[in-house]
């Protein structure tokens, strides 16, 4: 084996340009696969962190009728905060939100909104609710930057907000945009407006009520609350997980194409070298190799492309990947169009496992692709090989 590796190495280096072309193509596969996988891991990590910080905290109780995808459920999905929870809230371990459907009238237009009543003093989510703690002539309201852009609202603007109270009566008032925040979590931005919880309770005639309760810490098990359903963190992030899985499937196609290109080049090289090096093959046999050993030699030689590619890839890949991890990869399109938690700039995260599995996968594929044409040697007649007359 040592001899085979030594020989294979010399033969490959001796083959010059062709070897390096193959090695470079293959090294691209290494670097791109690791990079894209790193982006995915980084995205996953960032999406979950952002979701935790902005939207779901350590898990939530939802009113049993609450369905975030169906605003018509909002009028029924509220109940008084359960007595035990009130204590958690006042200790800052949890926060209550009341969710009411409403309409905003910015500059004569009409925008459907979800009004979120939120405690200005809450410390559970990153939403800068402290900005709601101001005394103004109108109700202070917070919106996200995407919402601000879409409804062309600026800080300090007054805008009419209409809602329906618990008795079914429509009512309207002016709110002032007290703050605009930037978040990567579209669910907390697009079509959302935040006003102080007590104000919304008063406007909607729902004193002491809430639609969702968000915890700061994630615990495996929470007590059953009648009329509420427990949504654990994994349940709440399942959508992100699934989206990333889908994206990864899409990426696998790209890897497959990349690998296929590299493998075609190596297959071609192997076929050509077996054809061109018949005399050499005959010589190995004359010197006492079995044909199986020559097959092994050529397989090692082909597989070594992967080893050289890993080294070459490391030379330019390590600085590139490290640099990307530092500056991040900025999406070529508007991140908010993805409709899920996604930052404009993603920071790839690489793990040792990722690098190891990629190297292993590419090396094994290369070995197989090198072996397939080499099998032909086992059927060669050594005297024909020595004459170099095989077709």
């Amino acid at each position: 084996m040592k001899t085979a590796i030594k020989l294979a190495y010399r033969n490959l280096i001796g083959a010059g340009l062709r070897t390096w072309l193959n090695v470079i193509v293959l090294s691209f596969s290494f670097v791109i696969i690791i990079f894209m996988k790193g982006i995915m891991t980084g995205w996953d990590y960032q999406a979950k962190t952002d979701m935790t910080n902005w939207q779901i905290g350590g898990g939530q109780y939802w009113h049993e009728a609450y369905d975030p995808y169906d605003p018509f459920t909002f009028s029924d999905s509220h109940a008084p905060v359960p007595s035990g929870m009130q204590e958690e809230i006042s200790r800052g371990n949890a926060m209550a939100q009341l969710i009411v459907q409403g309409t905003l009238y910015p500059a004569g237009r009409m925008v459907q909104v979800t009004i979120r009543g939120i405690d200005p003093g809450q410390q559970v989510l990153q939403i800068p609710t402290a900005r709601l703690d101001t005394l103004t002539d109108a109700i202070p309201a917070l919106i996200g930057s995407m919402m601000a852009k879409n409804s062309r609202l600026k800080e300090g603007d007054y805008v009419t907000l209409r809602w329906r109270d618990a008795a079914g009566t429509f009512d309207a008032t002016d709110v002032i945009i007290a703050g605009i925040f930037a978040t990567n979590v579209p669910a907390m931005d697009a079509g959302q407006i935040y006003i102080p919880l007590d104000t919304l309770r008063a406007l909607a005639l729902l004193p002491g009520e809430a639609s969702i309760l968000t915890f700061r810490e994630s615990e495996k098990q929470r007590t059953e609350l009648p009329g509420w359903k427990w949504m654990s963190k994994p349940e709440l992030t399942r959508e992100v997980d699934e989206l990333i899985k889908t994206k990864q499937t899409g990426q696998t196609v790209l890897y497959a194409i990349l690998l296929l290109l590299a493998m075609l080049a190596i297959f071609d090289t192997q076929v050509l070298s077996i054809f061109r090096r018949q005399k050499e093959i005959g010589t190995y046999i004359a010197l006492g190799y079995t044909r199986q050993q020559v097959v092994g030699l050529f397989t090692v030689e082909g597989s070594m492309h992967a080893v050289l590619a890993a080294v070459t890839g490391a030379i330019y890949g390590v600085p590139f990947l490290a640099w990307q991890a530092k500056v991040g990869w900025t999406l070529p399109m508007e991140a908010s169009e993805f409709g899920m938690a996604m930052a404009q700039t993603l920071y790839p995260v690489y793990s040792l496992g990722l690098v190891a599995t990629t190297v292993l996968l590419v090396t094994i594929t290369t070995a197989i692709v090198s072996y397939i044409p080499s099998r032909k040697i086992a059927k060669m007649n050594p005297t024909d090989a020595l004459r170099g007359k095989l077709q």
Partner: protein, 234 residues
């Protein structure tokens, strides 16, 4: 099976190649023996069957009929592993076109057969340096074949064939690509090795220069032994 002196006995050997629907008989009823230390040659025009016979002796091919016993082993009955072992341990080949490994140095080319045998690094080094000295190539140890002349290449090939001190060396038209001076040089080298190491040499050739060195001349014609002569007592 063989007398103690014979390292090769060939009896009633035929070699036929398929030719379309027919068969082509390349060797007819060959009966020959070779003793240790011979310096013999198969002589004949192109197509007379020299290479075919040499390849069978070298266990690269098998007889269609009859028997070829080389160093006590019947060539037709060896498994691929056994025949590889015979070549690895006991046979050396020299080819018309040298067949050196172009990307390896002279040293590495000569070392190659030893890598298949279990010699230590220092044993190998001594053997390679000795072999290069026999053929007078010690100064070219680090060169690669493309940098050498044809004569030098063939001397590397001789060193490669001789380095493990095989009992039998088979040389197929070793001078065909060489000029007269180089031909004489390599023949003198081989003659010397034959004398000093008692290695048996069998040539396939139609080169007068080679023939003049042979101690035993076996003339082949259309796959048959046509005539045989000895130039001195063996």
């Amino acid at each position: 099976m063989e007398t103690t002196n014979n390292i090769i006995s060939i009896r009633g050997l035929y070699k036929r190649f398929p030719m379309g629907k027919d068969e082509f008989t390349a060797l007819h009823d060959i009966n020959l023996s070779f003793g240790t230390g011979e310096f013999a040659g198969l002589i004949g025009p192109s197509g007379s069957g020299k290479t075919t016979l040499l390849n069978i002796i070298g266990s690269l091919d098998v007889p269609t009929q009859g028997e070829a016993i080389v160093l006590g082993r019947s060539i037709g009955k060896l498994s691929p592993r056994e025949s590889a072992r015979l070549r690895k341990e006991s046979l050396g080949f020299i080819f018309q076109s040298y067949n050196l490994l172009a990307v390896h140095t002279v040293y590495e080319n000569v070392e190659f057969p030893l890598l298949l045998l279990n010699y230590t690094e220092s044993e190998r080094q001594k053997m390679v340096l000795d072999a290069l000295e026999w053929v007078g190539l010690s100064p070219k140890i680090k060169s690669k074949p493309p940098q050498l002349s044809g004569g030098e290449c063939q001397r590397v090939a001789i060193a490669r064939a001789m380095v493990k001190k095989p009992r039998l060396v088979l040389a197929d038209e070793p001078t065909a690509n060489l000029d007269a001076a180089n031909s004489h040089h390599i023949l003198q080298t081989m003659e010397k090795l034959n004398r000093e190491l008692k290695t048996t040499f069998i040539f396939a050739t139609h080169d007068e220069k080679v023939i003049s060195y042979l101690k035993r001349r076996i003339y082949l014609l259309d796959g048959r032994v046509d005539n045989e002569e000895l130039t001195e007592a063996i």
